[in-house]
């Protein structure tokens, strides 16, 4: 079908756009980026903030350009004095009900409201009055809500519902008392929040931030009695550089390891080691289920957001879940058992810090399943990528000019299979590299499973493994997971599935660096670049299959015994629980 072209003028300039184009999009074709706030390219159109208003000849009101389609002959004015004053006034109205604490705010210099106020020229305050007052809601292990900073753009509400399919957030009350919160203003910790942190990523201000654990880490680092150990997740190395001005997709594992040593960590390990370990356990689990008629598809359990989502909404899939702990929790366990024993340190004196792209990992670290019998968490503190960036900056470390350093061994050594855990499809690919080789008993030569690569929401593939066809699928973004799980419920067969809560997998995690001015999260081009860094690291590595990691093999030999054996089960596996609401 031929597309109809629409002709209109914007600020007197003729534009020709396809039917269905919005005024905002049309303006971009002539180089005008209409100021905006609630708009987000990956979310539905709300038209709530009214900052992107324009003047359209013949219309009584100023329509929101984000949501108004261009029609034939439309005469649009984007920057008349009246429009500019209206935008200025709207932004001032937002500021009037916003705490004036920019200098001490987490988002200072990286705040969309602040930018708008500057750009639109709010230089005086005309309408100043009473401000809303809310307590900071910090019941959650992962996420803190400061409703005083909320501009009610509803991006968080939309991302939670539309991208994550969780629907935890909505507006409560009305008018100037409106507040975004879980239903009936339930505390976040009691809500169905899965802690994914996507609300933080899309928030234009600091109304949502992660619960900062940096103080605990500084304190541990300065406690001479503590042996402070850090390990970083695969996707950190692909994104942390952005916090220091490096282009997205710059691999920085060497600089990160160096920076962590400067911060004073006693050991700088790599979560990757346990990514390899996870693959060895999980592939074994998968093959056993395949051979013994166990519950299939086997579904990965690395993503704590996904795990909680499953427990709330799809508890029927608990038997399908891999019982393997996530790499973070495996690694922390290994540190506090194997490493502690080897190094001769009392596990009580070891403080384990995990740097994760993820806010839900903070929650995972406080799940009772991941605590020792006396109630000490295996992972003492979890930092997001953003928090680590702050710490490095706060310490004054010149990240960009650090010489590359290596991780400490043995728990800092990994194969390429572990690196790709950081992107969607990576866990499945890593598992296949091992499982296929184990199943066929033949060495796998072509190890890149490109069918499951790509950052889009759903990927599926059929693989021939020694004459058996394996159906596998990858979902990222829990809305996509819902689609896939509903298909399975309806009778479709799969053998193995990887699900990551966040769009793009960990490279798009809720703890990753904020987008730069004028850019948005859930940007798949950005995620592709971050993923590209991980694939590049993988490609450069000599060993690219988890079960070839010599230090992992040594761990089994020295300590764990058999793969999937009793001790491995005790230390490396977990279980799940049904949570309300069940099976909506």
């Amino acid at each position: 079908m031929a597309t109809t072209m629409i002709h209109a003028t914007i600020d007197g300039r003729p534009v020709e756009v396809e039917a269905g184009t919005t005024i905002m999009q049309a303006a971009e074709t002539i180089g005008i980026r209409i100021p905006r706030l609630c708009y987000h390219p990956k979310l539905s159109l709300e038209g709530a903030c009214r900052i992107c208003i324009v003047d359209v000849k013949g219309m009584r009101f100023f329509p929101a350009s984000c949501a108004t389609k261009v029609t034939e002959g439309m005469e649009i004015t984007t920057g008349s004095p009246e429009i500019r004053q209206a935008r200025r006034d709207i932004v001032e109205l937002l500021l009037d009900n916003h705490p004036m604490d920019c200098q001490t705010c987490e988002r200072d210099a990286n705040c969309e409201l602040q930018n708008l106020a500057y750009q639109l020229g709010v230089r005086e305050r005309l309408f100043d009055g009473k401000r809303k007052e809310f307590e900071v809601e910090d019941s959650s292990y992962s996420i803190v809500r400061n409703s005083e900073k909320c501009v009610l753009c509803q991006r968080c509400v939309r991302v939670c519902a539309e991208v994550q399919g969780v629907h935890n957030l909505s507006q409560q009350w009305r008018g100037a008392s409106t507040v975004v919160a879980p239903a009936f203003e339930a505390r976040m910790i009691e809500s169905i929040c899965i802690n994914c942190g996507q609300c933080i990523n899309v928030c234009p201000t600091a109304a949502w931030v992660e619960k900062s654990w940096t103080e605990d880490v500084w304190n541990a680092l300065n406690d001479p009695k503590k042996h402070v150990v850090v390990h970083i997740a695969p996707s950190i190395r692909a994104a942390i550089g952005e916090g220091f001005g490096l282009p997205p997709g710059t691999p920085t594992e060497g600089k990160t390891a160096a920076a962590l040593r400067r911060l004073g960590f006693d050991k700088v390990f790599d979560t990757n080691f346990s990514a390899d370990l996870t693959i060895v356990e999980e592939s074994n689990e998968f093959l056993k289920r395949l051979q013994n008629g166990g519950t299939l598809p086997l579904i990965t359990s690395c993503s704590p957001g996904w795990v909680k989502f499953m427990e709330h909404f799809y508890p029927g899939f608990i038997p399908n879940m891999s019982t393997c702990k996530s790499p973070m929790s495996m690694h922390s366990t290994v540190i506090k058992t194997y490493y502690a024993e080897k190094a001769g340190i009392d596990p009580k004196d070891i403080f384990v810090v995990a740097v994760m792209p993820c806010t839900a990992k903070k929650y995972e670290s406080r799940r009772p399943e991941f605590m020792s019998a006396d109630g000490r968490p295996d992972t003492d503190a979890v930092l997001t990528t953003r928090e680590l960036i702050w710490m490095i900056k706060a310490y004054g470390i010149d990240f960009l000019h650090l010489a590359d350093e290596e991780f400490d061994h043995p728990l800092g050594y990994s194969t390429g299979a572990a690196d790709i855990f950081g992107t969607t499809g990576g866990v499945l690919e890593a598992a296949l590299r091992t499982a296929v080789e184990m199943a066929t008993g033949k060495e796998l030569v072509d190890i890149e499973f490109k069918q499951v690569r790509g950052v889009d929401g759903l990927q599926e593939a059929s693989l021939d493994v020694g004459g058996t066809t394996l159906k596998v699928a990858v979902a990222n973004g829990l809305h996509n997971a819902r689609v896939l799980l509903d298909r399975i419920k309806a009778g479709e067969t799969f053998h193995m599935i990887e699900i990551m809560a966040c769009p793009g997998g960990c490279v798009g995690g809720g703890g990753q660096p904020y987008p730069h001015q004028g850019e948005y999260t859930i940007d798949f081009d950005l995620y592709r670049k971050r993923a590209g860094a991980l694939y590049a690291i993988d490609k450069d590595k000599e060993l690219r299959k988890s079960h070839k990691n010599p230090h992992v093999l040594e761990l089994y030999k020295d300590y764990l015994g058999e793969v999937g054996g009793h001790k491995a089960h005790e230390l490396l596996h977990t279980h799940y629980q049904v949570r309300a609401p069940r099976g909506i």
Binding site: E46, G47, A48, A67, R174
Partner: protein, 725 residues
């Protein structure tokens, strides 16, 4: 005649038979208003009392009939005594005590209790009462003044005003389908309707009927079920006779819980005719031709709205009745819901047929429990009678109706918010387009009209679009119901043709301003409307003329303000309402109304800052121009219209820190008139800050520096010695 009309004829015949049997058995019917307003005024106690008295009298021919409200609020509870061969008598503000007199004197002994009569209009027992209805669309020759001719003719025959009461009714174009008829004339107590084409016709009726006592049969107009009962019941009372009741045609007359009553007065006849002989396209064309515009406020052409839905691609459609009446002081829709629920159902059947919907929703605010109960009952009865559900009247057309309750948000009257609410989501508006006709409930094409619009649909089809289009103005057809309130004698529901002037409504029907006060302004359209100054009282009320002077028709609120009203306070009152009813979604409405309210607060407290009026105006224009939905876009209207017409009053508040109407408490200064003060010490004793001093029996004095302006001294003083300045 198709089978559908046959089925309907059968239904009506059976109903008529039942009704005639009943009428025969009932010598006297006592009509008692049973609506939320009537009940609140005490009608339930009145009914109990009548029931007791009837039982004690042992008379089975005296029965009580439940009706909706007549819309004559300040006179409720209203009781009508209907007796064959006698004019109807209505009593006002009836109490159980009054019931006892009415029952003994009037019902049992035929002596009318003049003291209690509604509006005390009937001072005597006239031999005849005559009501003339002038046809505004008269096209014949020789126009003449019927009142003058009748007066002269009767005088000549020796009948003066004590024997015959003449009245001219304002109804314009009403029920007159022939343009050569100049007047309709109803003669009581016989209730005979005459067609008067020229003076000769009138002379014949005067001579034949009023003088000679014989009905002039060839001039008698046959029964018109839609309007007769209303006119015959209420034509003698000016408040009613000057109205033109289409929407409220049944309210206060039929038993809202009786399908028989509704069908008896041709109810569902329009629906039967539509289903029998019209295609959906023809139905839409007819509604378009009638010129009916949405009565919810925006005034969009109903036929056009239906056409969009009819032409939509998706075959699954819905229709909705918006019964989320939320304007403070508005109760037009409640009256219809409680007084005539079947008319809404009939309108919706026609609308559903035209737009291809098989499912409808009636979205009623939960604060209307009686309305909900009545509509529920009506749906149930209609369903049992085959008027809802599968295969309506054997037409093969299926349509059913469900009730959804609103949780008490004003914004849910906005159509997209309302649909969100029905879907179980937060009731807040979304950006349009897409309009509901394209993508409404659950993404399906949806036709949404308010109660008053739906209630008008059967009228359009009973009398035809041409007839309907003759009522009203060029661009606003039909009538509009207003909830008349404030500083006016007759508060209540007033339905007049579009184009009636505000002055007509307030003075002719509303009876003017109580006391010796002067009118200052009229506020129309509820919180979304504006204040119209007294100089504009001759504005003809329709959608466009009200919009042109900065107000709106809205859903029909009309509040009369007199010299004692402070316009700044009025603006603040409405703004406070919209501010707290803002859904909170868009910035200008959520934050803008808050700041506007703060400015008004400052002004009314004498704390205004330099430039506050400009700031207020700037914000008001911002909100109006940029808010997302109708609520926000119209929220500044009360402020903008008062700023426009009463700016001087604002300026006095700001510059002189004075409230000319003496309403804004903080701006009132109290002073003791030493000539009037007798030194009783009452004021000094109630003063909470002890700022009134003086010896007993000598004039007191207020220390204005300490006074907190609470006004307690003013309320307490029995000698009018405390002045507000």
């Amino acid at each position: 005649m198709g089978t559908i009309l046959e089925q309907y004829a059968k239904l009506q015949a059976e109903t008529k038979e039942r009704m005639h049997q009943r009428m025969k058995a009932h010598q006297i019917e006592i009509h008692i208003g049973d609506a939320t307003c009537e009940n609140a005024a005490g009608s339930l106690d009145v009914r109990d009392e009548f029931e007791k008295l009837i039982e004690a009298s042992g008379r089975s021919d005296i029965v009580i009939k439940k009706t909706g409200c007549t819309g004559r609020c300040s006179a409720e509870p209203i009781v009508g005594v209907m007796q064959h061969g006698k004019p109807p008598f209505k009593y006002q503000s009836v109490t159980p005590e009054k019931v006892r007199r009415i029952f003994t004197e009037h019902i049992l002994n035929g002596q009318i209790v003049l003291d209690y009569l509604l509006d005390k209009k009937t001072k005597n027992e006239y031999r005849y009462q005559v009501a003339f209805y002038k046809n505004s669309t008269f096209c014949g020759a020789e126009p003449f003044d019927a009142m003058e001719v009748a007066k002269a003719g009767l005088h000549k025959a020796g009948l003066d005003e004590t024997a015959v009461k003449l009245s001219l009714c304002l109804n314009r174009g009403l029920f007159i389908s022939h343009c050569d008829v100049q007047y309709y004339m109803i003669v009581f107590p016989q209730i005979v309707r005459y067609r008067i084409r020229n003076q000769a016709d009138l002379d014949r009726v005067l001579a034949g009927h009023l003088v000679g006592g014989q009905v002039v049969t060839d001039l008698v107009e046959e029964e018109d079920a839609l309007f007769d009962r209303y006119l015959t019941t209420y034509a003698d009372i000016e408040f009613f006779s000057k109205q033109t009741r289409l929407t409220l045609r049944n309210s206060g007359i039929v038993d809202p819980e009786s399908l028989d009553d509704y069908v008896f007065y041709c109810g569902f006849g329009a629906a039967a005719r539509v289903l029998d002989g019209m295609t959906p396209e023809e139905v839409v064309a007819e509604v378009k031709k009638s010129g009916l515009r949405g009565r919810g406020g925006a005034g969009f052409l109903t036929g056009l709205k239906w056409e969009f839905a009819q032409k939509a691609k998706n075959p699954k459609r819905y229709i909705i009745c918006n019964a989320d009446e939320g304007d403070p002081g508005a109760f037009m829709d409640r009256s219809t819901l409680e007084g005539d629920p079947f008319s809404i159902i009939e309108g919706m059947i026609i609308g559903a047929y035209a737009t291809g919907a098989n499912q409808g929703f009636c979205y009623i605010r939960a604060e209307y429990p009686l309305a909900i109960q009545r509509v529920e009952l009506a749906i149930d009865k209609a369903r049992k009678a085959g008027l809802l559900g599968k295969n309506i009247l054997g037409s093969g057309f299926d349509f059913d109706l469900e009730i959804r309750l609103g949780a008490g948000a004003f914004v849910c009257g906005e159509e997209t918010a309302l649909m969100h609410s029905i879907e179980g989501r937060r009731g807040q508006p979304r950006i349009r387009p897409p309009f509901p006709a394209e993508s409404g409930l659950w993404g399906c094409p949806t036709t949404i009209n308010n109660v008053e619009t739906w209630a008008n649909i059967p009228v359009v089809f009973q009398y035809g679009a041409d007839w309907f289009a003759r009522i009203g103005t060029e661009k606003s057809k039909g009538t509009k119901v207003f909830a008349l309130a404030g500083k006016v004698k007759n508060t209540g529901l007033v339905e007049v043709p579009m184009g009636t002037t505000l002055r007509n409504v307030i003075f002719d029907i509303g009876g003017g301003i109580p006391g010796d006060k002067t009118i200052k302004a009229v506020q129309t359209g509820g919180p979304s409307g504006g204040c119209i100054p007294v100089e504009m009282l001759d504005t003809e009320v329709d959608y466009d003329s009200l919009a042109a002077i900065g107000s709106i028709m809205g859903s029909g609120g009309m509040i009369v303000l007199d010299e004692d009203s402070c316009m700044v306070d009025v603006a603040k009152f409405f703004l406070e309402f919209t501010m707290s009813e803002s859904c909170g979604k868009c910035t200008p409405c959520r934050e803008g109304t808050l700041r506007m309210y703060e400015i008004l607060e400052r002004i009314t407290r004498g704390e205004s800052r330099e430039g506050d009026l400009d700031r207020l105006e700037r914000l008001a224009n911002l909100v109006k121009k940029t808010a997302l939905c109708g609520l926000g876009q119209t929220a500044p209207n009360p402020v903008l219209s008062t700023l426009k017409h009463f700016r001087d009053e604002y300026e006095i508040h700001v510059k002189e820190k004075r409230c000319p109407a003496k309403v804004c408490k903080k701006l009132i200064v109290y002073e003791i008139d030493t000539n009037k003060c007798i030194g009783c010490t009452a004021c000094a004793r109630v003063c909470p800050v002890n700022c009134i001093a003086g010896k007993p029996k000598t004039p007191h004095e207020i220390d204005k520096t300490k006074c907190i302006r609470c006004g307690q001294c003013w309320t307490t003083c029995k000698f009018d010695a405390i002045r507000k300045i």
